[in-house]
């Protein structure tokens, strides 16, 4: 029996502005609902977590990434494949420590803040893009990797770059193969 010819299913695209503006409307609504920046940040992180746990399935189905053998490889894939696929950008990756479990993603361009000039008054601790941290954390957890993901620097807060820090928490088991990310 012959196999059907392999056809890439057409993945639907939407207008990028729709996503960026929707995210902005969401953050604006959260700022109305919560007085403290920490509460908004936490909400965005949790929401991102929920998205990440589902997004990873979509990612794995579409990206055909090979099995990873190190945190460094995983971080490279997040930056070069995942970010590219979903947001059209490729952050650069830096390893921050010698035990090679702490990394930074440096975002040169960030489409989420395209229409944001500055943080609203009285919201200086707001991590506008905290959804991204939650997404990464949720996605990693679905492939059995625990990580802390936070913003280390933020251009919106006056820093020179926007930097997301990923700290992998469990020691990698050398004997077993890791599931692909």
């Amino acid at each position: 029996m012959s196999r059907p010819a392999h056809r890439r299913p057409e993945y639907h695209k939407i207008n990028k502005d729709l996503f960026v503006l929707t995210y902005g409307a969401l953050v604006a609504q959260l700022c109305k609902d919560y007085e403290k920046d920490e509460d908004v940040n936490k909400y965005l992180d949790n929401m991102g977590y929920g998205i990440g746990t589902r997004l990873v399935e979509d990612f794995l189905a579409r990206s055909c990434v090979r099995r990873c053998h190190s945190y460094s490889e995983i971080t490279d894939i997040i930056a070069q494949v995942a970010f590219k696929m979903y947001l059209g950008i490729t952050p650069s990756v830096i390893c921050n420590n010698s035990s090679r479990n702490e990394f930074s993603l440096i975002l040169d361009k960030n489409p989420l803040v395209e229409f944001v000039e500055e943080l609203p008054a009285g919201r200086s601790s707001l991590c506008y893009c905290n959804l991204l941290c939650g997404i990464i954390r949720g996605a990693l957890e679905m492939v059995h990797l625990a990580a802390d993901v936070t913003f280390l620097q933020d251009r919106l807060k006056g820093d020179s770059v926007t930097e997301i820090g990923i700290t992998f928490l469990k020691k990698q088991d050398e004997k077993k193969h890791r599931r692909k990310k």
Partner: protein, 130 residues
């Protein structure tokens, strides 16, 4: 262009987030739907501004409606909408989107949605004459 998966998941989370964080009373009197609709409204306003920057003036209301139904819709969603859930909560954002788009084109309206025969969804636009 962005990926549909990201928007759909964000929309899902927004809907469940709005419902999770509200009181029972608010769910009953439709506060949640309003919140979602208002977010859609804001986004619709922003989108229509960007899309019509270089467009010629619209002749009349019918012209505007045609634009919304064809150009606006397909530019935003890149295809016919065919996979929105039927719950009102999932349609609220989209109703707001349409209302926001019309608003910035000078039309005040009320937009509601109804699903009578799947997968078709009917959006009803009631234009309010001032």
């Amino acid at each position: 262009m962005a990926d549909e998966a990201l928007f759909l998941l964000l929309h899902n989370e927004m809907v469940s987030g709005v419902y999770k964080s509200t009181e029972q009373g608010e769910v009953e009197n439709g506060r949640c739907i309003t919140k979602l609709e208002n977010m859609g409204f804001r986004v619709g306003q922003g989108l229509i501004e960007r899309f019509t920057k270089d467009t010629a003036r619209f002749k009349d209301e019918l012209d505007i409606m045609k634009f919304i139904c064809k150009d606006f819709w397909t530019t935003v969603f890149k295809k016919q909408i065919d996979n929105l859930r039927t719950n009102h909560q999932y349609l609220a954002f989209t109703c707001g989107l349409i209302r926001g788009g019309l608003s910035n084109l000078g039309i005040k309206s009320i937009v509601t949605a109804e699903v009578s025969s799947m997968p078709a969804c009917k959006f009803q636009v009631m234009i309010q004459k001032l």
